[in-house]
Amino acid sequence: MFQSIVSYGLAVGAVYALIGITYNVMFSASRVFSFTAGMLGMLGGVLGALFINKLGMNAVLGFVLVLACGAVLGLVTEILTVRPVLKSIEQHLYVLSTLAFALMVQQVTAIEWGTEAQPFPPLVPVGEGWLDQKFWLPLLACAVTIGGLELLYRKTLIGRAFLAIAEDSYAARALGLPETRLRMASFALAGVIGTLAGFTGAQMLLAFFGNQSILNFYGFVPVALGGMGSNRGAVIGGLALGLFQQAANFLVGGIFAAVAVFAVFIVVLLLRPEGLAGAATARRV
């Protein structure tokens, strides 16, 4: 039992962490929390199963295509739902525009793909227990993503430009950085990360349209715990959430797990709104 709690918990946690990073990448570029994060995770699984299972594509080709779809959806999100409402970010209209877009995609999925959860094909036919692909693949994806982002942000010029935009978009624009193009790039990158999360986690979570709202919420909890924009916080928060959830599931039952996660979420928001590792916010007047 211990083994299944840890293996399953870490794997689910890695998916949550990746969705959290998806939120963060979009947030850093635009100060927008986009409800499309869960949608990308859901589509990673559904599109993967569609390409590989239904259309019989090669696994590698299917994988690349899924990520490409993610990037395109990220761009569409930016152009359609984020850019038009950025002017009036104080009104938080992005909450509604991104949610509406995510719901539209979810509905199309529900109608065209069906509302039943469908299996996802095994890609690496080796291993049992710990070595089962569904356990280590999300963790691997998470590690690669973190490593890649770290390299991108620290070592490349475009990565530094991302950081500059995240830190102060006015100053960045004054320096001549192409803010709009960088924001589009960020949303495309977020699309890739989100579908990667869904793709690698799909053997466990199945190809199911309902994963959208679950991932939207459980992917945001690590961000709230770890602080907005902090990828390290999202990973630690995500893994901790996955482990806690699985442990509670096995030991006390699902009701308690769900209620406890929600209670912790609210309490943390009330006591440390900037996240467990974040810094306080600035003036309002």
């Binding site: 929390f33 409402v85 909450v95 539209m104 928001l269 007047v285």
Partner: protein
Amino acid sequence: MTEATAPIRARAAGAGWLAKLEGRISWILLGLAGLLLPLLDDSYIGVIAQRAYIYWVLSAGLNLVVGYAGQIAIGWVSMLTLGAYTTAALAAGNVGTPWPPYLALLASGVIGAVFGVIVGLPALRLRTFYFAMTTLGFATIVTQVALAWKDVTGGGVGTPGPTFPWPFDPGWGFYYFCFVLAALATWMTANIGASRYGRALVAIRDAEVAAEACGISKPALLMMVFLLAGALGGIAGGLFASLQSYITPDAFTFEMSVLFFIGILIGGRGSILGPALGTLILTVLPEFAAPLVQWSTFLYAALLLLIVLVIPGGIADLLDYKNRRPVPQPELLGRVLGTQGGNTLITLSGIELHFGGVRAIDGLDLEIRAGEVHGLIGPNGSGKTTTLNVISGYYRPQAGALRIDGADLAFEQPHVRAQWRIARTFQTPRLVGAASVLENVMIGGTVHGHGTFAESMLSLPRHRLDERVLEEAAMLALSSVGLESLAKVRADRLQHSELRFVEIARALMLRPACLMLDEPAAGLSAEEIRRLGGLIKAISRGGTAVLLVEHHADLIFDICDRVTVLNLGKVLAAGTPAEIRSHREVVSAYLGA
């Protein structure tokens, strides 16, 4: 009522009377249609109507949260779920002995109220997105619990809904039950919407910082609204369970939330009739478009996106076509401010405020006396506005004390300033764009009301008296700044200079002992500055202590009794205008030769 304001009020009342009748007629027609619907004797139509009433019971409460307070409660379907399962489980005896259905319905209202507040907790402190996420998360979790808690909810199999006994037994009896509850919900929320609480909610939505300066406590107010919206949602859930006669977690999709939400947005924020019609139409529409039912949620979502991108204020925004002609008017300040003992004294001693390493205020002493205009000048970044913000209670200085008439004023509690009758305006006017000028000014008098939330909800006499008194005072204040002819105009249609005067009128509603003006002359023409100067002087002669932050040196030297010059958070010089004008350092550092 006085002779000066009488014609203005009569004119305003003439226009308002028609608008009121328009509103009333719609309600009367709706009510009649509802009452007479059973004559059709078509049970299919009856069921659709019942569903519309039930949705509206929930949406009426949600409308206060979304349309008025501007909180994005996207997962309010959770209250429906919660209420449905509470009523069903209690009535069916899944928990202990079976409860009478009416009592079970009441219980679901209570449970809804409790969870409405719990879900709303993050909204009291945090930015809107967190609240949206909390409601979404709660909706997810309620469904998960409904699936897992098999003893009580029946899990995925479901549980039978309650059947209400006579007089509201299934059929037309239950129809009238839903109808009456929907009417009741409409009446109560409309009362709140038109009360000082309703205006305060809109102020929180569009001008939160200014709302606090007017003495509106966001947490206390939102808490009550969440309580009401939760209770209505829970009761709607209980009715829904009975209508469905058998409930499973599948019955409560997240998409229903979207329906509630769009119904409100289509109708327009800050309206009751609009959202009611919106909810009605959205409930009924799919029944007439059978081939589209599968795509209805998609279409709702697309509609939501369209509304947000094209008309974020809802259709109500498109309907504001009122005209205006600004007419300057002399002061009526004596009556606005009332007769008050003008001897307030505000003292700041040794105030120090750092932002990280920046010393915004560095040991400031200041005295503001009743009946005097005290000018605060200095270069940009010298701490003028920061000083105002300390007095207003937005900041907590690291050292120093702030006293009013010898009593200590707590920091970081902007909304208690109004009780001390400390009012202010802002460097950039902060007004509720979607509300009328009159309503904006009435917000300033929120703390003078006496009726409770419940009294407003039931439209009891004290509430109506509050409204009358506030409106008269607001008209008077508007007349005194010369804007009475714009009373009914939406604030976002005003010119910049007019907004500055509206803010002053709003501040006057407190009958301030101390009035702080943050660069009131910025952006005004020479003629307007002259009028402003006269107004400020008249206010201070009425016994109010005025603190004036300004860059226009001429205005300062013209009307101030004393002037303090700040530089780098410290007092560079203080004294009468004449002394300051000849102060060598000030002249070289700031005024120029």
